[in-house]
Symmetry: C2
Subunit: 167 residues, 2 copies
């Protein structure tokens, strides 16, 4: 079952992209990154949440106490941007902010029980999106792809690389 509403097929096949673009893995990566974002956004629409929210909930779900700064640093988000995202999560009762008594500048952010339930639902949604996006590939190919992407991410997204080192 699709997580997103199927798009109507275009009545005329679009003209084809220049060969040199299609031959470039970098170009395909940019376009597919955009397509993945669109698919994800469409799948999240019903939930009223954003993939950003999911990432935040995941960080909080790992258990160790987090301040707004540490969340932002972990995910590579801007701190100003994070304020609004946490506002939205707090309004929905999924997280709570408490002043850190040891350093009253800091807010310690925690998941509420509702937040934990929401995280579980988003985990399921996330798996569905992954499965739909990677549908053309079998298990072996998916693992191959992931391995190759991770090797690139080691260079271009150091935050991912550290995870590799930890293995």
């Amino acid at each position: 079952m699709s997580v997103t509403t199927p798009q109507p097929a275009p009545s005329f096949p679009a003209a084809q992209l220049p060969e040199e673009l299609v031959a470039s893995a970098t170009f395909l990566l940019k376009r597919l990154g955009f397509a993945a974002k669109e698919l994800t956004m469409a799948a999240y629409e019903k939930s009223g949440l954003h993939p950003y929210h999911y990432a935040i909930l995941l960080v909080l779900g790992e258990g160790s106490p987090e301040t707004q700064g540490s969340i932002a640093d972990t995910l590579g988000y801007d701190r100003g941007q994070l304020v609004g995202l946490l506002d939205e999560l707090e309004e929905r009762g999924l997280v709570e902010r408490r002043r850190d008594p040891n350093d009253r500048r800091r807010h310690v952010v925690r998941l509420t029980p509702d937040g934990k339930r929401a995280l579980q639902k988003l985990r399921t949604l996330s798996r569905q999106i992954e499965d739909e996006f990677l549908a053309p590939l079998n298990e072996t190919d998916r693992r191959k792809l992931h391995t190759l992407l991770l090797r690139l991410a080691e260079k271009h997204e150091p935050r991912c690389a550290i995870s590799v080192a930890r293995r």
Copy 2:
């Protein structure tokens, strides 16, 4: 030799992303797509042009006469957006627009000699970017990655899929 100015290494290693995100090929694709865009933009900076311009020049370089509409459809660009991009290329003397005498609503767009030279330079730049972005992978791995991405693009970017069918 790098096409982009090397970034200073962060003094503190950033905290690591949640495992579930790093384990997702879709997530990596989104982040890497963004990284590819940033790398590309940095490399294009000196040229005063945008990757969009390169794609347009490539389409025109294929020889068959193109109208603004056909260029937009081929690349998946909005027609309104294309106007400004062509203005910029025309100001630099890289393309010229002529009214189509058979249908005076249409503009036929063609490369100028300067435009052909600019296209060659951007082809070189494009190869350098590709090589820098894929640096962690050897030739075999690059081909594997490209094959896998193309399979995904068949589903998520039909404009790429047609190229495959033509092979």
